[in-house]
Each structure stands twice: as structure tokens, then as C-alpha cells.
């Protein structure tokens, strides 16, 4: 009986220690549709598996290990942005076959996560969790030729006041995703190659 109680206590203590040594973030957030002018473009969207299933695992020295599941949130964020930004969108299986899946398209966009980093309050000597995400937004023509590869850097931070570590990390991640959405929705039409090739605008004087 005593041995059973000891084993049970050991299991509980081990579980408590394990839960205290790892942090897990799964972003469940929905992203609002950007309030921006819609571009007159028919665009195919390709999400590589590395983006749609993106998971970041990190074990900072002397800290608990962290797992950030970003994949589904990436897809929801880009769906929201592209759905508001373009006149028509359609998800396609790959870039090369996009023209066959969406006849008459103007472009194919394929976002990818280039880097994901975070910093913990103990690392920055502040009370802030911070998250950086760098995306590469590749835009192809109907023939599959690369028009532009646009690096988009996003940042989010969240204080710890009244929140658990997981909640703060989740909030910082959500803010970074919203930052990416804001940058893309307000900046896509300002990309020189997008203006020149897709929107058929004359380059401004001096450029």
C-alpha cells in the first residue's frame, strides 16, 4: 500500500516537474479581414507544407523548452489577407500547376516561413515576451516565372502582467502574425515589381 502511494506521488511530482519545464503554444486566433482596397487580380495561392505545418521547437539554455505550433494560424492569416486583397483567390497544390487549376490567373503567391525567433523575459531582462517571424512572399507570373521575392519581417511583444507564460507567448505570436498581415495588406501594392508587372503601373520618376 505504502509502495503504491509512493509510486503515485512520484508520478504526480514527475508530471508537475515536466509541465513546469515545457511551454506549448497553439495559436487558435482568427484574423480579421484587412480593410484595404481590393486589387483587380485573380491570384492562385500555394501554401507549402513547411508553412502550413510549421512548428518551432526551442530549448533555451537554462530555460523550459518551448513548442510553438504556427502552421494552421499561418494559413488562416494568409487566407484572410489574400481574400481581402485580391479580387479572386484559389488555393492550388503547387506553383507549377497553378495555371491549369485556375485558368486566366494573374499571379501565384507562395508564402514561406524563413525564420522564427522569440525572446523570454529572462533573456531580455524585461517583462516582455517577444516574437519575430520572417516570411518570404514569393510572387510568380502565370508562366511560373518569379516576379518578386518579398521578405516580410513581423514582430509582436506581450507583457507578463496578469498572464501566464503560455498566454504571453501566445499573445506575442498573435501580434507578430497580425503585424505580418498588416505589412502585407498595406504594402503589397507598393512593391515596385508588383506595380510594374501585375498592376501595369508606370514606375515613378527617378526610380
Amino acid at each position: 500500500m505504502l509502495a503504491r502511494v509512493a509510486a503515485l506521488a512520484g508520478t504526480v511530482v514527475a508530471a508537475l516537474l515536466q509541465s513546469g519545464c515545457s511551454g506549448s503554444v497553439a495559436v487558435e486566433e482568427e484574423f480579421p479581414a484587412p480593410l484595404v482596397g481590393r486589387l483587380p487580380l485573380r491570384v492562385a495561392v500555394h501554401y507549402p507544407a513547411a508553412l502550413a505545418e510549421f512548428v518551432h521547437r526551442e530549448d533555451p539554455e537554462s530555460e523550459r523548452d518551448w513548442t510553438v505550433q504556427l502552421g494552421p494560424a499561418n494559413v488562416r492569416m494568409f487566407d484572410s489577407v489574400f481574400g481581402a486583397l485580391f479580387a479572386e483567390t484559389r488555393r492550388v497544390a503547387d506553383v507549377a500547376g497553378a495555371a491549369g487549376e485556375m485558368p486566366g490567373l494573374d499571379a501565384v503567391v507562395a508564402p514561406a516561413v524563413d525564420a522564427f525567433e522569440f525572446s523570454l523575459p529572462s533573456q531580455s531582462a524585461t517583462d516582455q515576451f517577444a516574437v519575430w517571424i520572417r516570411y518570404n512572399l514569393e510572387v510568380y507570373g502565370p508562366d511560373g516565372s518569379l516576379i518578386v521575392k518579398w521578405p516580410v519581417t513581423a514582430y509582436g511583444q506581450s507583457g507578463t502582467g496578469g498572464l501566464s507564460d503560455e498566454e504571453s507567448m501566445t499573445r506575442a505570436t498573435v501580434l507578430a502574425l497580425r503585424d505580418a498581415a498588416a505589412t502585407i495588406s498595406t504594402g503589397f501594392a507598393r512593391q515596385p515589381k508588383v506595380r510594374e508587372v501585375l498592376l501595369k503601373e508606370a514606375p515613378p520618376d527617378g526610380s
Binding site: P32, L35, V36, G37, Y155, Q157, G159
Partner: protein, 232 residues
Amino acid sequence: MAADNPAHPVRFPAFATVVVATAALLGGCMTSRVEESKNAATGIGAGESVVILATSYHKGKAVEEDFLSCVNAEVQKGKGGIAVYPERQFTDALFPWFEPRTAPQTAEALPELLSRPGVEERIQARGIRYIVWLNGTTEQTNGGGSLSCAVGPGGGGCFGLTWWEDDASYDAAVWDLRQKADAGSVSADVHGTSMIPALIIPVPLIARTQSAACKDLARELREFIVDGGPAA
């Protein structure tokens, strides 16, 4: 000590309860200064509201979440309360124009922002008259003393004195969305000294500077918006 006396086994806990209750009623000492600067006449009509936002963290240290929540609650509280439109619903409805990176830096940027497709219409549909931008933090500025505690077979206790000073400094810039202009600002600075003297039992005397700054700022903000101020 009292625990050694078998005739009065409950005296020590009762004494402790009284000390803790007294400490809870007392607080550290605080000084506060509230100021306002008005650029234009204000006022708020029935059905109109304000939205209270934290200044972007790209402009410096971010306002604490709990301070933002406190001001939101205090501004709405009581008879003279003002309707506050929920921050998250506002930023979602106006996404992406009030994100930390894209939010207007000055009131001069308001006309351009409001001219973007759908922006002014969504603000008007929600009856939002003012945007209030909160800025500031509470920081510990000084401290000292020492306090040590020990526990032994016969009981435990603490001895010593520790103290620290907090400075809660916040300001709120008020933008009038109808006039598309900066209406002015209010600020609250609260300085407080907290201490924990201990003679067996530690007695925390805490100066709640952030809470005081929240109440001061919210009260001043209500008056700033409701009172007409200088003639238009």
C-alpha cells in the same frame, strides 16, 4: 511567544490577524500630480463613445495590460461614466490601421487615415468620437533596507525593514475623430514609498501607485472629455 503560553493558544493568530488587517487598511505614503492640457473644445453626446488604446510598443515601453484594463473600467464607472468601445473590437474592425506598426503617430495623420476606404464609415457606425492613447509605465525607482526571516522548531519570525519607491507616470492623448484633431492630453504622476517593517510578523505597507494613477487619470479623462473646455 504567545504560542508558548498554553493558556492562550489563539492569541498569536488573533494578533497576527489584527496586524495584517491593519496593514491592509494602511498603505504606503503617496504623492500625486494630475495635469491636463486642452487644445480644443470637447464634449460627448448620447450614443457616442471613446476607445482607449495603448501607444505602440514601437514607440517605447508598452503600457501594462492591467493598467489599460483599469483605465477602461474606471472611465465607464459610476454616474459620470463614459461609454468605452472595446479595444479589440475596434482594432479588428479597423484592421490593419491601428496595429502597433501602422497606427497613426500624430493627430495630423488622422485626415489621411479617415479618407481611406471604409475607415471613417466604420468609426461613425460605431459611434466612436474620441481615441485615447495611453502611454507610460510604473517603475521602481529606489529601494533599500533588509529583512530576514527564520523558522525553527519553536516557531518562526522576521526582523528588519525593507522599503522601495515606485513612480507611476502615465499620460493620455485625446484625439477628436469628428474634428480630426488633437483635443489635448491629461497626465497623472503618482510617487509612492512602500515598506515592510517586521518584528516577528512582517507588516506590508504598500503604496499602490499604479492603481492610484489609474483612478486619477480616468477621473481627469472623464472631466476632460465631458467638460466643454475652451470655447470652440
